[in-house]
Amino acid sequence: MPGGRQYDARVVTEAELAQAFAAAWSSAEVVDARSESGPVGSGSIDRAIGERLVALCAAVHRELPELDDAIDDLEVVATLAGRAPDREVIAYLDRCHPGELALALAASRAHPAAIARLERDHRGVIDAMCWRFASAVHSAADLRQILREKLFVAPPGMRPKLAEYAGQGQLDSWLRITAVRVFLDLGRRKDRARETPTADGVLTMPDPGDLSLEVIKAEYRAAVGQAMRDAATALEPADRHLLHQHYVAGLSIDQLGVALGIHRATAARRVVRAREALVGETRALLVTRLQLSDEELDEVIGMVLSRLDVSIPKLLEVRPRDRQP
């Protein structure tokens, strides 16, 4: 069958695949960025992309032989198109995980064999997350059931959570992240029922007196505290996040590496750099705000450094705000 394959008792042609891809692609949000320069022009796409889509679908069917009739090639292709960049589309397609996407889509339509396969292939990560979050309130078995419902059962008028997987990143990683989100929400719901929320839900910034800077001469203390707070505010958001995770949330360097998908050595280097940025900015602010000799300034900065591990958590308290939809 040239350029097509069997689906649902009919052949999906390369043209149909290409059309499905192009349609989903041009309706994606970033359409304006690619309308001129992209390889798409009025509903038709590059021949090379079409051929790649055919090969990709064939590979998916080979990977999931028992789900041959449950895989909707057009849906897979359209989902991938929804996040395709405006150029280097083939490289993008090569980075995606179409087999895992096809499995997730079939399972999200409650296809029993697809659910069975997904639960078998990914029970390792699912069980690991359930064990990790098990508590006196929810046993691992409870959590497994809760997660299962969330993943596979569609709320009225909606698609189940699993349909949100778009073939980006491994399904294992997506399942882990989603499980953490579901379990954190579960805890939060319980907390809300128990506690009365604060007036505005905003954490207050600390008093300069809280900064454990007693070692610094009283006359400078307020200025140093203010300079450190201003420096923390001026940090690059990414640095601020890094310092927050390490010093406030207590992630180890290894865990930082896991959280950001980077090597532990990179994580360690970046924490050091972010600390230096904080101290450097504090020093720069003090130079302009206090009339101190270099020696005096060095002494003050030395004391700041010695107190930094204690001070950073207080400086970095993040104001929570509602998650954007």
Binding site: D127, A128, G169, R181, R240, A249, R323, Q324
Partner: protein
């Protein structure tokens, strides 16, 4: 920075899973990290993800599920073997111990010998590997069941049930010895009664071998590794663990399972235990003949114990048969009396 300065949309789970998998481009990564710096909810999610993700770098074939326990030598994890889609146990050996080449060689040798050994009462060894942090691990059969200690405590067990369980342990131990392996750390916690009734000898003291030929159970600081309560005198003194010291441990285990107390009393100190071991243990009236068989295995002199596990089990079997014969005799006599009584009654 104020939280409201950076109010880009929260990345969805697809983007976050690409972040943690290191699959984002530099530009995309920078954008996500900028967002994390201003969004407490996303920062919390990513932090919780990192904390919930096990940190050991095992080969991708294995997915860590949960720690099952940890000892002086390393941790045991339940893992999913994704290639064969089955659960196994990974026993890790701490990195300090693996830095020792002699030690590593011994571990590999014993794991290979165990892997060759196929016996229903000996835990199966599937794989031997190394994490990217240099930790050696052994992949073992994961047994769904309880330790013999927990099995015994769960509900009252008849002497016949207890003997049947430890008889299976003895069979496993005999096979292990035949393969030239010494268990070194036999105790009720290392024997598993599976939910299908099979009894499996597990958790070999692979890791309790010392560099100098497996002879030392004392660390440099004089600390005893493992549980001294099941060890014979020669092992407590730092001598080599042998098949005869395993036999001693087996006898302590069965003794304890039968009468609920270990043969040698101690006031909580090794010194008192060592003194108690010099005398033969007192035989309780119940199970006297079984305990007498075990007492020979508990002799302070290894040469005066049973020659091997097979000899011990033969002796135990003889006791059991004798008891059965005695029962038949008693039953026979009772029947004869009854019959005689009946005959008398009829004759009248």
């Amino acid at each position: 920075m104020t939280a409201s300065r950076d109010v880009a949309r929260c990345p969805d789970d697809n983007t976050l899973s690409q972040l943690v998998a290191g699959e984002l481009s530099d530009g995309e990564r920078a954008e996500v990290e900028r967002h994390l710096g201003g969004c407490a909810a996303c920062a919390q999610l990513i932090g919780a993800y990192a904390r919930a993700t096990p940190q050991r770098n095992v080969p991708p074939r294995y997915q860590l599920i949960r720690p099952l326990g940890s000892g002086a030598m390393g941790e045991v994890w339940e893992v999913e073997d994704t290639t064969l889609a089955r659960r196994v146990a990974l026993k890790f050996v701490r990195a300090e111990s693996t830095a020792d080449h002699e030690y590593q060689a011994r571990l590999v040798r014993e794991a290979r010998a165990l892997a060759r050994l196929r016996h229903p009462n000996v835990v199966a060894v599937y794989d031997l590997g190394q994490s990217s942090d240099g930790e050696l691990f052994v992949a073992l059969e994961l047994i769904d069941g309880a330790s013999a200690r927990d099995w015994r405590a769960a509900q009252p067990r008849s002497p016949a049930e207890i003997l049947a369980v430890w008889r299976q342990v003895a069979d496993g131990l005999a096979a292990v010895h035949q393969a030239g392996i010494v268990h070194r750390d036999l105790k009720p916690d290392n024997v598993f009664v599976a939910s299908d009734g099979r009894v499996v000898l597990g958790d070999f003291g692979l890791a309790s071998m010392a560099a100098d030929g497996g002879s030392t159970t004392l660390t440099a600081t004089g600390q005893i590794l493992g549980t001294p309560l099941y060890m014979p005198l020669e092992q407590l003194r730092g001598g080599a663990a042998t098949a005869r010291s395993d036999q001693f441990a087996l006898c302590v285990c069965l003794w304890e399972a039968l009468i609920g107390a270990r043969p040698f009393q101690h006031g909580g100190t090794i010194a008192a235990l060592v003194i108690a071991m010099r005398e033969p243990p007192p035989l309780a009236a119940r199970h006297r003949s079984t305990l007498a068989v075990l007492a020979r295995g508990l002799d302070p002199d290894p040469d005066r114990r049973w020659p091997d596990i097979a000899a011990l089990t033969r002796a135990l079997d003889r006791v059991r048969r004798a008891r059965t014969r005695r029962r038949w005799w008693m039953a026979g006599i009772a029947t004869a009396i009854l019959l005689a009584g009946a005959a008398l009654a009829i004759a009248r």
